[in-house]
Amino acid sequence: MRSMWTARLAWLLAIPLLAVLPLALDGYQIYIVTLVLVNVVVAVGLNLLTGNAGQISLCHASFMAIGAYTTTLLMTNLGVPFLVALPTGGVAAAVLGGVLALAAIRLSGFYLALATLGFLEVTQIAIEEFGWLTGGVRGLMAPRPTIVGGIDLGSDLHLYYAVLIVTLFLVWVAYNLLESPVGRAFNAVRVSAAAVQTLGVSPARTKLTAFALAAFYAGIGGGLAGILAGFIDPTEYGTAATLRHITFIVLGGIGSLVGSIVGATVLTLLPEVLRGAAEYGDLFYAALLLGSLILMPKGLVGLVSHWTRRGPVLSEDVTPAQDREPAR
């Protein structure tokens, strides 16, 4: 497959580049780049669910919140080591993702969007309601852990490498899944649930897998985001966050793994570049989302492939006579 070699090339270039990058940056810049990686994980998860499997989800941020609180509380309250706490946060989010999938099985489109919106609100309420555990509106401190071997993640550099490893792993897994029966089932269910059933694939099971997977990614992203910031702020996991995540994938390219990476990177770095306009940030984001939706429906990735496409796909002299559309 022609795209497989481009992918291998990309990995080969990206990994050493990313490994060396932080050595040239100062502390704050390392924080930003780490944030980019976290957002890539979140975006990839959402794109698998919405872009590939076609399930509208407005509560991706809730899964992040579940991951963040679970990971941090396990570490601070129960002394669970980071290497166990983080995946557990992901799993906790995945379980709830599975629950939401039950709604997805019966609903689609607007109704599913509403159900996920309801879930977003319920998590916000739950965070406040269980304030004795979560710190409620005041938030929760998320201190950086030490992991086995005494490597202290308090160092920005060490945290970056830890996050890099997690990100590379999860992107690799997403890539594998997309080139497998699982990924093909996602894409198929989005287009025609009827046809996919006749091939023996259960749309219900596919949606369940998609939701659980996306939630897992968000949960991991949340766990990492919490310790990166050192603080879990519940207002960071509401509608504004949802808007951001969706903008990542719409701008980058719906249904495209590369799109998720591009979107997350560009939109995390952009506010840093446009420093003075902090107030206008949210407004800008919303306008960008609307603009991309209407003007660039296939995202930045779609724009690039449009420019690099080599001529028409089916030309007269190549298509055999019996395959051409009959003249009308």
Partner: protein, 291 residues
């Protein structure tokens, strides 16, 4: 639980419910006509509230503010529909959801830029001293909300039954193709329904403002309106009204028994329950596919 308290709770439940009912109507009316469910409808409400605030701060009396706000909002609604909503009419559902959501957020953040997060009060021409009838204490603002809601619902019912525009809107909701063939300008009906819905939203904004204050998060009431519309079934206007009133009453009683946080959970619990068990709601006719 004494009879008085029950009546009291019922009254406030119905008042709040009437707000939900009106917002739900403002959602369902354009949805039936053009198939667009406006996830940014809450911000239309917000827009109306801020327009009213601006007019009020300019010194105009309450009644004039109300009338002008409705007219301005209707006009703004028509413009927004033409420019931003029209391209979405036959778009995939994801695009409609995210697009309308984004439009709403743009309005909210634009408002917030100018008015900041301050909470403003809209001056109303009656005192907030409760009326005392026997052992009941009735808040005049709540009474006003209920009365206006009932009047508007009745007016809308008449409008859809008797007026030409109303009947044209009903025709378009039922069958766009046939309506077009009968000479009804379908696109103009889209504009009209959206203008109507924005004006409704603005009215709610004005009614609700004395209770909640005017601030950028005012649009969040839309979530309750969604629940109300789901209870009623999205295809039924009377259903939306019944849904809203029912939600208001259930919520208020839940709040009285279980405290204010649980009061909010009730709405979403109902939402999720209905979507899973009976997505058609009480009166709707959309089938849910089991796939």
């Amino acid at each position: 639980m004494s009879f008085d308290i029950v009546v009291q709770l019922l009254f406030s439940g119905l008042s709040v419910g009437s707000i939900y009912a009106l917002v739900a109507l403002s959602l369902v009316i354009p949805f039936k006509a053009s198939g667009i469910l406006n996830f940014g409808q809450g911000e239309m409400l917000l827009l109306g509230a801020y327009v009213a605030l601006a007019l009020s701060l300019a010194g105009l009396p309450y009644w004039l503010v109300m009338v002008l706000t409705l007219l301005i909002s209707a006009a703004l609604g028509a413009v927004i529909e033409r420019v931003l909503m029209r391209p979405l009419v036959n778009a995939p559902e994801f695009t409609i959801v995210i697009g309308t959501y984004a439009i709403g957020l743009i309005i909210k953040y634009a408002m917030r830029l100018y008015w900041q997060d301050d909470v403003y009060r809209l001056p109303v021409p009656f005192s907030s001293q409760p009326w005392v009838i026997g052992t009941l204490r009735i808040n005049p603002v709540y009474a006003w909300m209920l009365v206006v809601a009932l009047l508007i619902t009745a007016a809308l019912a008449l409008f859809f039954q008797r007026s030409r525009l109303g009947k044209a809107m009903r025709a378009v909701s039922q069958n766009q193709q046939a309506s077009r063939l009968m000479g009804i300008g379908v696109e103009r009906i889209f504009s009209a329904t959206f203008a109507l819905s924005t004006a409704l939203g603005a009215l709610v904004g004005i009614l609700f403002a004395p209770v909640a204050g005017i601030h950028p998060e005012l649009g969040n009431v839309i979530l309750k309106a969604f629940v109300a519309a789901v209870i009623g079934g999205f295809t039924s206007l009377p259903g939306a009204v019944v849904g809203g009133l029912l939600l208001g009453v259930v919520e208020t009683f839940a709040g009285a028994f279980f405290g204010s946080t649980l009061r909010n959970v009730v709405a979403f619990a109902i939402l999720i329950l209905i979507l899973l068990v009976r997505p058609n709601g009480l009166f709707g006719t959309i089938e849910s596919r089991r796939v």
